[in-house]
């Protein structure tokens, strides 16, 4: 969707990166006019949702270097918390969205509080275990979550009235796409600033060498918890948007396979690259849809493609892109 525009940002002249955001806005605004069918509009919306998720996971995994294999748990916690707050406690949608994000963020901080002692594969399996426990709770706490039957009739967000101007409704799939894409853009801008700030430097320092980072006076535990909390909060907000987008909530949407898909998006795009996360999310959302015509074999090809991309482009799409560009600048060898 907007990776071309967004990747134009980065380390080059200020003018180019200044243009990236307006260009992204134009592309997002124009997209629904090219993809008018409700099927492709929902694919676009899924793309935007996965961009939000991949950006959040990239903060934890790419920048802070914390292997989180259970990201789907926070996605699910946000979705269920927000929906239950609306259904049972009568919360306003936007407040519930915020609370869903907060709930997931708190869960992320909670997991990180004891997981900061763990590293690498240990952390990976701990977060995987956390995701499985979350899934089992969603499945088994039937009185609250309806278990495998799911929650039906999750309503779209209420219209926003800007007095004297317009009334923005979210009933059509086009307006919902705009909503999710706007969230994605806001998350992108905020995270992009965050990772370029001294906080981003701290996270990268922890990723590269935790002992050295600590000896430089960086509170490694606190910053790891911070990254987990922010990343999880983003997943929670995405979860709430997902619930009102699909209209039904079942625990299977938040099984660990979802974590793996999100992980693949970040890796395929390129770790610790903002445009990479966007490109990876779009590619791995569109690819299975584009392969839908070949029926049962589409996930076979999806798995194969994922392995091949990792084998032949271990640095992800962004590294491949950089290599290509460097080669072109140098001219034919």
């Amino acid at each position: 969707m907007s990776e071309a525009a967004l990747s134009a940002g980065g380390k080059r002249r200020i003018a180019a990166s200044d243009l990236a955001i307006p260009a992204a806005i134009c592309i997002i605004a124009a997209l629904p006019f090219f993809f008018t069918s409700s099927y492709w509009l929902s694919v676009l919306t899924l793309c935007a949702l996965n961009v939000v998720l991949a950006l959040g996971l990239n903060l934890i995994l790419g920048y802070a270097g914390q292997l989180n294999l259970g990201y789907s748990a926070f996605y699910g916690i946000g979705a269920y918390a927000a929906t239950l707050l609306i259904k049972l406690a009568g919360f306003e949608y936007w407040l519930a969205l915020l609370c869903g994000g907060l709930a997931a963020g708190i869960a992320g901080v909670g997991l990180a509080m004891f997981a900061v002692r763990l590293k690498g594969h240990y952390l990976g399996i701990a977060s995987l275990g956390f995701a499985l426990v979350t899934y089992e709770i969603l499945m088994n706490w039937v009185s609250l979550t309806q278990g495998p039957l799911g929650i039906y009739g999750v309503l779209p967000p209420p219209p926003i009235d800007i007095p004297g101007l317009v009334r923005i409704t979210f009933v059509g799939s086009r307006s919902f796409f705009y909503l999710v894409a706007a969230v994605a853009l806001v998350v992108y801008v905020l995270l992009n600033n965050l990772v370029r700030s001294p906080i981003g430097d701290n996270l990268r320092a922890i990723r590269e060498d935790e002992v050295s980072a600590a000896s430089l006076g960086i509170n490694t535990a606190a910053w790891k918890i911070f990254a987990f909390g922010i990343g999880s909060m983003i997943a929670g907000i995405a979860g709430c948007l997902y619930a009102s987008f699909v209209g039904t909530l079942v625990p299977d949407a938040f099984f660990i396979t979802e974590s793996f898909t999100l992980l693949a998006m970040v890796i395929v795009g390129g770790l610790a690259s903002m445009p990479g996360a966007v490109a990876g999310a779009i590619l791995l959302t569109v690819l299975p849809e584009a392969l839908r015509s070949i029926g049962d074999l589409r996930l076979v090809i999806f798995g194969l493609a994922m392995t091949l991309v990792v084998l032949f482009m271990p640095g992800g799409l962004m590294q491949a892109w950089d290599t290509l560009r460097a080669r072109r600048l140098r001219g034919p060898a």
Binding site: Y122, N140, I267, A305, L311
Partner: protein
């Protein structure tokens, strides 16, 4: 014997049998982790495909169950050979340890869906000749298949232990696990040792598949149902620790059967993973302390 004592003893037996299956699945993961420092996410699908290999040898070709087990071992070993040649060997020098892990996730998605396309989602009725004969011991009963599972698991552990302890390859294996560079300087062909590790670990997955087939519902997802527990077991036991894995596998099997008996069968996963999080919170090196401390 009162009814309660019988129940407790019966569930202990059931738990040990399940535990032995878990140990067989988890040992392969532990082996790869301890030597290569990698996780193979496609391990579950090796289990499943090997179970299907056994099924076809026994039910379609009319072979005996022992031939089925041999076929499963061969299938697992062959898959291990492929996995090593395609992923672990080429990515050995890659600085990011996540990359091979993601590649195996891709392999897992590929294999699971390829099996779904080939075999369909409907469960296969797979009877081992041992599954039907019940043995009574007082008021406790178990099938011959259970005896076979426990015997094979015990034998495998013994053979594996002897191999690692006494065989020249086993010694090379331990040397590579301790320090890959130095082992290479001492004239050990590290590439071949690492490859052999993947093959042995995958053959273990094959063996587990052959024994699981008649016990579990045989679908393309059969391996996936046990693999997450195998991961939990590997962590509870302490990553890459053999004694820990065996202990944790049996423990999880027993806890599961008591949970099913006294709580609810749908609670088993919850209890197992709650135990996992508890172990990670209290004793992150696993039940049996690990010698290396790089992960904590």
């Amino acid at each position: 014997m009162s009814d309660l004592v019988t129940t407790i003893a019966q569930q202990l037996v059931n738990g040990v049998v399940t535990g032995c299956l878990y140990v067989l699945v988890a040992l392969g993961l532990t082996l790869i982790y301890s030597i290569l420092n990698q996780i193979n996410f496609a391990h579950a699908d090796f289990v499943t495909l090997s179970a299907f290999a056994t099924y076809f040898v026994v039910n379609k070709l009319g072979g005996s169950y022992l031939w089925g087990i041999a076929a499963a071992l061969a299938t697992g070993a062959f898959l291990g050979l492929l996995l090593n040649a395609a992923i672990f060997a080429p990515l050995r020098r890659h600085p990011d340890e996540l990359v091979p892990l993601i590649a195996t996730i891709g392999v897992s998605i590929f294999m699971e869906n390829a099996q779904l396309a080939a075999f369909g989602p409907i469960p296969y009725q797979f009877d081992s000749p041992f599954a039907k004969s019940a043995i009574h011991l007082g008021r406790i009963f178990f099938t011959a298949q259970s005896v076979l599972i426990v015997a094979v698991a015990g034998l495998t552990i013994a053979v594996l232990y002897a191999f690692i302890r006494f065989a020249a390859y086993g010694k090379a294996l331990r040397a590579v696990a301790q320090d890959r560079e130095t082992a290479g300087l001492m004239g050990i062909n590290t590439g071949r040792v690492l490859g052999l590790t993947v093959i042995i670990a995958s053959a273990l997955a094959g063996l587990a598949g052959a024994l699981l087939g008649p016990v579990l519902v045989l679908t393309p997802f059969a391996g996936a149902t046990v693999i997450v527990k195998a991961f939990a077991i590997v962590v509870i036991g302490g990553f890459g620790n053999f004694e820990g894995t065996i202990l944790a596998g049996l423990l999880v099997g027993i806890i599961e059967s008591y949970t099913t008996q006294f709580l609810n069968s749908s609670m088993t996963d919850l209890v197992v993973f709650a135990l996992l999080l508890l172990v990670l919170a209290v004793r992150p090196t696993g039940l049996v302390a690990e010698r290396r401390d790089e992960n904590v």
